[in-house]
């Protein structure tokens, strides 16, 4: 085995609700503060307490951030999943377990080194009270890992100080538990393991943040004032974060009153209705949801499309259909979001690949929604939204001003002869909006029923068609305003890989792997819909394109074919949709058979 310093992965298996989340966060953060690039994936159950949960940490000095399916070390602390967990350790790897109870002989693998630490016994001696013993057992393994992997103890001490600075009792017990684990391992095993950490300087311009928190920051900075929602995993923390940020930055310093309104709706039908009502009245408003919510919102999204009311929706995708696996990730709403609602509809969609893009695209979503007077859907997923990612620091340009689009105010209306809501004064398909309560001349009747360009009810064929044709032109015009695709070219490539959102890191790593095998590929990640001409050009340029995505039916591939008219024969399909984040391995082994190389 070659040098694995700063290039390895480990996995921690525990039960939900036992406090392991804080230990896992601590380890991840400590590695980050050592300047070493790190990625954490929380694989958690749809349950509050008791079901198995895993946390995967990948350390990569080279900067790879995708999930890896191969683990050098397993921290197996849940006897219910021992059997499966042991199978996931690579040959020659290590397994740490709680040796308070003996390990069943059947579970012993010859090619794995077992590290038994009596966590329960150590903690039962050191702590009183059932709850504390369980919690501290989960902190103790952080200490053990620190010894095994050479995690800087000063960094750990600093982090626990910060975290518990206001709770001295907790600080003390946490430190004690960490030391228990550390000292035991140091005294009984040859540490550190060959897989271990060494300080680097690769993270100083980065932060660790989840995409829901960063999207919430985007909403804050974009000037959103109304948020409506109905709780749903994995979107809940987006609104919770927004609330936290608003309480910090949006309370009037004098009156202590809120410069925001967050409305917990009775369901998603209502949540999107509130957003449409607030946007119609002139606020920047949004709702975060997931697939089931999109299904419920569809009727209203069609209204907003046809009546031309801005709305921003975040779809933090999870596995479907139906309730699916609520705590597993997928990209299964690509098609429904592009066309949500009955009737001819097409919605602007944005596809962030990581939390930094989630921040930037949240801001862009409000600008696009107001400029084009139409719903904008931002499709992230559970992996982007809920896991902490290492991304470059978020930056803000203080010269930014919201693009409110064509809104006529009182002065403009004073000088206008007659106002027509659905005219096309500039030939770009975008009409002029007015807001209620501003001016008598601005009044019009917003409706989802047939209307003509003046906004009046119509059943006249030509009048109806004039409006819907203009709307089609308007939305299609957004193709040059949505974020351009990310394109990376490799010398000598004749084939392309195409992906979307959270597949990005796996694809980047796969490109390197394929190139190393002498298989160069060009790469494009679509970032917005309607697709720009560049998307079509890329597909046409390559003799073959492999569309990589996380759903069963190849939704991105279908949408690309539909929109660009590139034949399906030029679009290969690579799909991984089991619910976990994608790995480079899925991409590489998905492509190989198509190009005559064994998977």
């Amino acid at each position: 085995m070659n040098d694995r310093t700063n290039e390895f992965a480990f996995k921690i298996a525990t039960a939900n609700g036992t406090g392991s989340a804080s230990a896992n966060g601590l380890i991840m953060q400590a590695i980050f503060r050592m300047g070493v690039p790190v990625t954490g994936k929380n694989l958690f159950p749809s349950n509050i307490q008791g079901l198995p949960t895993w946390y995967e940490i990948r350390v990569s000095g080279k900067g790879y951030k995708a999930r890896t399916p191969v683990f050098d070390l397993m921290v197996a602390l849940n006897s219910a999943t021992y059997e499966k967990d042991i199978q996931e350790v690579r040959s020659g790897g290590w397994l740490m377990y709680d040796s308070t109870w003996p390990m069943d002989d059947k579970l012993i693998r010859d090619d794995v080194t077992y590290i038994g630490v009596p966590f329960a016994e150590l903690c039962n001696k050191a702590f009183g009270g059932v709850r504390e013993r369980i919690l501290m057992k989960n902190i103790a393994y952080a200490g053990a890992l620190a010894a095994l992997l050479n995690i800087d103890r000063d960094v750990i001490a600093e982090l626990t100080q910060e975290k518990f600075s206001k709770k001295p009792a907790l600080l003390e017990s946490n430190q004690k538990a960490i030391n228990l684990g550390f000292e035991y391992v140091k005294a009984n095993f040859d540490v550190p393991l060959p897989i271990h950490l060494q300080k680097m300087d690769e993270t100083k311009d980065c932060i660790l943040i989840g995409g829901n928190a960063s999207a919430a920051l985007g909403c804050l900075y974009a000037g959103a004032t109304v948020g409506a929602w109905y709780p749903i995993t994995p979107a809940t923390s987006l609104m919770e974060s927004f609330k936290g940020f608003c309480q910090r930055y949006r309370v009037d310093p004098e009156t202590k009153k809120n410069r925001f309104a967050i409305l917990q709706a009775e369901d998603e039908l209502s949540a999107i209705g509130m957003v449409i009502g607030a946007s119609w009245a002139g606020a920047r408003a949004f709702t975060p949801t997931s697939g089931p919510g999109i299904s419920l919102m569809s009727e209203f999204l069609g209204l907003a499309y046809y009546a031309e009311v801005p709305a921003v929706v975040f779809d933090v995708q999870r596995t479907g259909p139906s309730t699916g696996m609520p705590t597993r990730t997928q990209q299964c709403d690509i098609l429904i979001c592009a066309h949500a609602s009955h009737g001819d509809t097409k919605h602007i969609c944005l596809y962030p690949a990581d939390p930094k893009e989630a921040f930037e695209m949240a801001v862009a979503a409000f600008d696009l929604a107001e400029r084009y007077q139409t719903p904008v859907l931002v499709l992230s997923d559970l992996d982007i939204g809920m896991n902490d990612w290492m991304v470059p620091k978020l930056t803000w340009d203080d010269s930014y001003r919201p693009d409110r689009g064509k809104v006529l105010g009182a002065k403009e209306l004073d000088n206008i002869k007659t106002y027509g809501r659905y005219l096309d004064p500039d030939g770009d398909g975008i009409p002029q909006r007015t807001l209620p309560g501003v001016h008598p001349k601005g009044a019009y009747f917003t409706r989802g029923s047939g209307h003509n360009k003046m906004g009046a009810y119509t059943e006249d064929a030509d009048e109806y068609q004039e409006v819907v044709d203009r709307i089609a032109r308007k939305v299609q015009g957004a193709k040059n305003a949505v974020p351009a695709p990310f394109i990376k070219r490799t010398k000598g490539a004749t084939m392309g890989i195409v992906s979307i959102g959270g597949c990005h890191e796996a694809c980047l790593e796969a490109l390197d792997e394929l190139k190393a095998e002498g298989l160069p590929f060009d790469y494009m990640r679509v970032r917005g819909f309607p697709f720009s001409d560049e998307v079509k050009e890329f597909l046409e340029e390559h003799e073959m394109n492999f569309v990589v995505e996380q759903n069963r039916d190849g939704q991105l591939r279908s949408l690309l074919a539909l929109e660009t008219e590139v034949p399906l024969t030029k679009l290969g399909s690579v799909r991984y949709y089991a619910g976990f984040p994608m790995s480079a391995h899925h991409v590489v082994s998905g492509i190989r058979p198509h190009i005559g190389v064994p998977a």
């Binding site: 109304v226 409305l263 999107i272 209705g273 009502g277 009245a281 919201p402 807001l435 409706r447």
Partner: protein
């Protein structure tokens, strides 16, 4: 033909209000409803109510769902923004609009299908939130626009035009609203303008959700024998106005008032509807007594009308949410964006 605006000719005989506007200025497009539809009478009452209160039309937002009743916002206040949304979902539009701009004067028009069937959930939750809105439920006991199916307010045992008997118990909007904690509950009859106008005015001035059910016969599908929501064939049999002068109002509302009486209103087809005026000692500020009174009327086969319950002390939605006094839509962006320095500082937490 609702897209034909009425010619705006000022009649010298029309009285101007304090803003110098006549009732014509509060009208909208021509109604496309059936001649004699109760909903049109309510529209006329709405026009009168706004005119008399000297409200500038453009400051109003008129919202509705889908149905014959929900079409009517097109027929009043042409200078106000209107929003004919989707079936049963007007309350959420109102909630969002009211949160964004608390200065809007909002009126919502709905039907019994829109409110009590498809939209029951949204209605209940808008009541709970106490959204500042005059909510008018134009109750005809049927789905007018889809041609006469029973709605959830159809009375037990009543028959449809096709002769089917309704075997299910009705949902009564008024007792429902009371149960849910509504801060303003009233009921009236589309034909009883003298009662209806002061109620609408009181509702417009109420701070919070003003629930007003108006029995509004559908002449086409629910005005036959066996229907319990049909018309009185003669205006003389209509109920007298009810007093509403305990509501804080700016302009005096003159009412004639005959307390405690029950009016039996005979319908086209000989059917009867009983309307009870609130009694002289009726206390509209006591929720339990109001509930008992209405239930008592129901058990007697009577329909209590008038301003049935009012609580002027409840916090409306924006107050519950501690929203600033200004409309959120009027806040300058500089009050909303924390800026680059704050972002840099905040991110120290994400390391």
């Amino acid at each position: 033909m609702s897209y034909l605006a009425k010619p705006k000719v000022h009649h010298p005989s029309l009285k101007p209000n304090a803003l110098g506007l006549t009732r014509r200025d509060y009208e909208g497009a021509l109604s496309t409803l059936c001649a004699g539809c109760g909903h049109d009478s309510i529209t006329a009452a709405i026009i009168h109510a706004f005119w008399e209160l000297d409200i500038e039309p453009y400051k109003v937002a008129k919202l509705s769902g889908i149905g014959c009743s929900s079409k009517t916002p097109a027929y009043f206040l042409r200078e106000a923004h209107g929003f004919n949304s989707v079936h049963g979902r007007m309350p959420s539009i109102a909630t969002g609009a009211g949160a964004a701009n608390r200065e809007l004067i909002m009126i919502g028009v709905s039907g019994d299908g829109d409110s009590l069937s498809i939209g029951l959930g949204q209605l209940c939750h808008a009541i709970r939130r106490n959204v500042n809105l005059l909510y008018i439920l134009e109750n005809n006991g049927v789905y007018g626009l889809t041609k006469g199916q029973f709605s959830a307010s159809a009375d037990f045992g009543s028959t449809s035009k096709k002769g089917e008997v309704n075997e299910m118990t009705p949902i009564d909007g008024v007792t429902l609203a009371l149960n849910l904690g509504a801060t303003f509950v009233a009921r009236s009859f589309s034909g009883d303008k003298e009662q209806l106008i002061p109620i609408l005015q009181a509702g417009l001035q109420h701070n919070g959700f003003a629930f007003v059910e108006v029995i509004s016969p559908c002449v086409t599908f629910n005005d036959h024998e066996g229907s319990t929501k049909s018309y009185s064939y003669t205006r003389e049999h209509m109920i007298e106005v009810v007093e509403a002068d305990f509501v804080p109002i700016r302009s005096e509302i003159t009412t004639q008032y005959e307390p405690g009486s029950v009016k039996r209103v005979q319908m086209h087809d000989g059917g009867m509807v009983n309307l009870r005026k609130v009694a002289e000692d009726y206390d509209p500020t006591d929720r339990d007594k109001a509930y008992a009174y209405i239930r008592n009327c129901q058990s007697e086969g009577e329909v209590a009308t008038g301003l049935l319950y009012i609580d002027e002390n409840g916090k409306d939605m924006v107050e519950q949410n501690d929203v600033v006094d200004a409309a959120l839509t009027n806040l300058p962006y500089s009050d909303l964006c924390p800026g680059s320095e704050a972002l840099a500082k905040l991110q120290l937490r994400f390391r």
